[in-house]
Amino acid sequence: MSALSAPVVAAIDDLEFAARLVVEGLRAGGHRSPFHGFSAEFQQHRPYRAGDDLKYLDWKLLARTDRLYSRQFRETTSMSVMLVLDSSPSMAYASDGVSKFASARVLAAALAYLISTQGDAVGLMSMTGDALTYVPARGGRVHLRSLLARMDALEPDAAWDAPRVIARSADLLRRRGVVIVVSDFYDAEQETQRELRRVRRRGHDVAMLQVMTRNEIAFPFTGDVEFEDLESGARRLVDARIAAREYQQSVEAFLSRVAQSARRDGFEYAIAPTDLPPERILREFLLRWNRTPVASRGGGAGG
């Protein structure tokens, strides 16, 4: 079954339904969530007892000692994921009928659905106006619905402060977890990177989903155009044909910088064009995440 197109998914009013559609598409492809079992920790060995699950048998120890021992793990606790959703005015820009915010929200909702249905805790951090909008990381269907409802109520008109939101989201993760930021990362580039590194140093994993429209990358404008900044309201009149080359060079440099910085700091990074189906974006994102060696994530789980 082919993935639902971005405009179709964006047109679905029910965010929970849209998220479920995307996740079912992912599951139909047999993709494993990278979040499941991520936080299981080895505790000790104990002699093998009849009936123990063979997958917990320590085969290496058997080879060394000729004795049967089962690995015992600390009770598997659910992992906590905090979704940071950019609600700045720049996210309101739309191309081909799909706004960046609508696309980011579907991606975040699908991730929340996937995480929650697999038994992990998921929370939300965003802004409404000047105030933080916070949903703590918890599990359960009721919580998921409440989170999705809060997410659905968000609008891209907040006085977005990315470093503040990111820092706060890490503070509110009680145990080691994941911070997934869904944003265009236009604002406070340096400060945002610095804050993300701080999150990483605290032991959390960081993932970045950069939402962009095709227009912002290709710049298909011609003639005399007066551009108005959605966030500041500033205007600039340019000859689009003359400006195009320099614009595209700047955008390429920006995207490369963000990607390289993420790679260097050990973050998961993916660019999410609004014209691609959300299922495809998440599939590639999750595939890449699953393939990333534990060591490169900076001190992964035991096993």
Partner: protein, 441 residues
């Protein structure tokens, strides 16, 4: 260079409209709300283009294409020396022949002035590439038409008027309608005292039929009427119906003529308009009105006096005369083979003055009237005609005169070349459009 179809240049004016609209419409840039301006260059480094050189060049080439096409449609003709020489050889002449009444004068040799004018016109048109002969009794009325025809002709243009140039034929104000580049020639014919006074044309003729034994009286009547010339009424042998009577317009049949009864039998009421007109002129002739002879007085004719008499059961004739004596002159219509004739039956004696008056009045009534002005001998002087004469008209080239000759094909070729240049410039501009970014998605 001359333009054979200058109206085509109106097309150039309409072409300017979309160009002006295009230039004016560039002032309003559209506003686009955008997520961020950080990637856009400064306005200084990406100025709003108003006068980019390549755009101006492209616009100029496109306008040049249209101008070349419009100019080609205007059918240009480059006037080389050879073409000028060919045009100079070519003459277009319009000849106006005056056919007014004064031109009916007869010269000593017997030729009427109008006939001499027609011959001169034929001589004038002989050997001319383009010529037109116009006959008119009023020359000024055809001058504008003659000039219009000349404007459609190429070569040297000439206007010739052949007339007796009686005062009133033409004047300097009339000649102002003729453009200064048209040569004007005024040729005089039928002048001087050698010409007789304009004579009414009596070739329609009046025939007199009387008793055979009254030939002398008939001759006397003719002489008394003053119409006994070769151009005058035909004298018919008394009592005999001659073939000559068939050509006469009016027959006057006196009592006693051998064919009297026969003609009387064929009589019917006057119905043909032409014959009725003759009858009216007859009854209004001064001789018929003022005549007193043999104690006979004819009342002034008007319709009230024209009373049909009854002959038997049919009314065949019109009786003319005072009340009580309406049988003095009766008029009827008969056929002579191909046409109708007016027949007068006088009751008075053949040898009387009344008969002579009737013959003369009938002859004058048959001939067309001559305006009194045309009877004047006063003519426009030769010096005046010389002053009005113009020579050496400038040779012109017109569409009709040049046939299909046109140098427009070179302008069409230029338009095609410019179209190619426009395509090259346009492709270069397109290739200068920014490349798509290499960032993988």
């Amino acid at each position: 260079m001359i333009w054979q179809n200058p109206w085509a240049f109106l097309g150039a004016a309409t072409i300017a409209v979309p160009v002006i609209i295009h230039l004016l419409s560039r002032h309003n840039a559209r506003v686009v709300q955008y997520p961020t301006l950080r990637f856009l260059p400064d306005a200084r480094s990406a100025p709003v283009r108003r006068t980019r050189i390549t755009d101006i060049l492209l616009l100029a080439v496109r306008v040049a294409v249209l101008v070349a096409a419009v100019a080609a449609l205007a059918r240009p003709l480059w006037m080389t020396d050879r073409r000028r020489a060919d045009l100079a050889q070519r003459v277009a002449r319009v000849i106006i022949v005056d056919t007014s009444a004064s031109m009916q004068r007869v010269a000593v040799g017997g030729e009427r002035a109008v006939d001499a004018a027609r011959q001169a016109a034929r001589d004038g048109a002989d050997g001319i590439a383009s010529s037109l002969v116009i006959e008119s009794a009023f020359v000024p009325s055809v001058l504008s038409g003659a000039v219009s025809w000349l404007e459609t002709q190429s070569g040297r243009r000439e206007l010739q008027v052949i007339s007796d140039f009686q005062v009133g034929t033409i004047d300097s104000i009339d000649l102002r309608a003729v453009p200064p580049d048209v040569a004007v020639t005024l040729q005089r014919v039928g002048t001087g005292d050698s010409m007789s006074a304009p004579q009414p044309d009596r070739r329609a003729r009046v025939a007199v039929i009387g008793p055979q034994d009254k030939r002398d009286e008939i001759a006397a009547v003719m002489d008394a009427a003053g119409v006994g010339t070769e151009a005058g009424p035909t004298r018919v042998d008394a009592g005999a119906a001659s073939a000559d009577t068939a050509s006469a317009k009016v027959l006057i049949v006196f009592p006693g003529a051998q064919s009297y009864d026969e003609i009387l039998r064929g009589a019917r009421l006057v119905g043909a308009p032409g014959l009725a007109d003759i009858l009216v002129r007859l009854t209004h002739h001064p001789l018929m009105i003022a005549l007193e002879s043999d104690q006979t007085r004819l009342a002034a004719g008007d319709d009230a006096n024209l009373v049909a008499t009854r002959k038997g059961a049919d009314a065949k004739m019109i009786a003319i005369g005072p009340p009580g004596r309406r049988d003095l002159l009766r008029a009827a219509e008969i056929d002579s083979g191909s046409r109708a004739q007016l027949v007068l039956f006088p009751a008075y004696d053949l040898a009387s003055l009344a008969s002579a008056a009737t013959v003369r009045a009938a002859a004058d009534a048959v001939a067309p009237s001559v305006p009194s002005g045309e009877l004047s001998h006063e003519a426009i002087g030769d010096s005046v005609l010389s002053a009005w004469t113009r020579t050496a008209g400038v040779a012109h080239a017109t569409r009709e005169g040049s046939g299909d000759a046109s140098d427009g094909r070179w302008l069409w070729l230029l338009a095609l070349v410019l179209l190619g240049v426009e395509a090259i410039i346009r492709r270069r501009l397109q290739h200068q459009s920014p490349r798509q970014p290499a960032h993988a998605l």
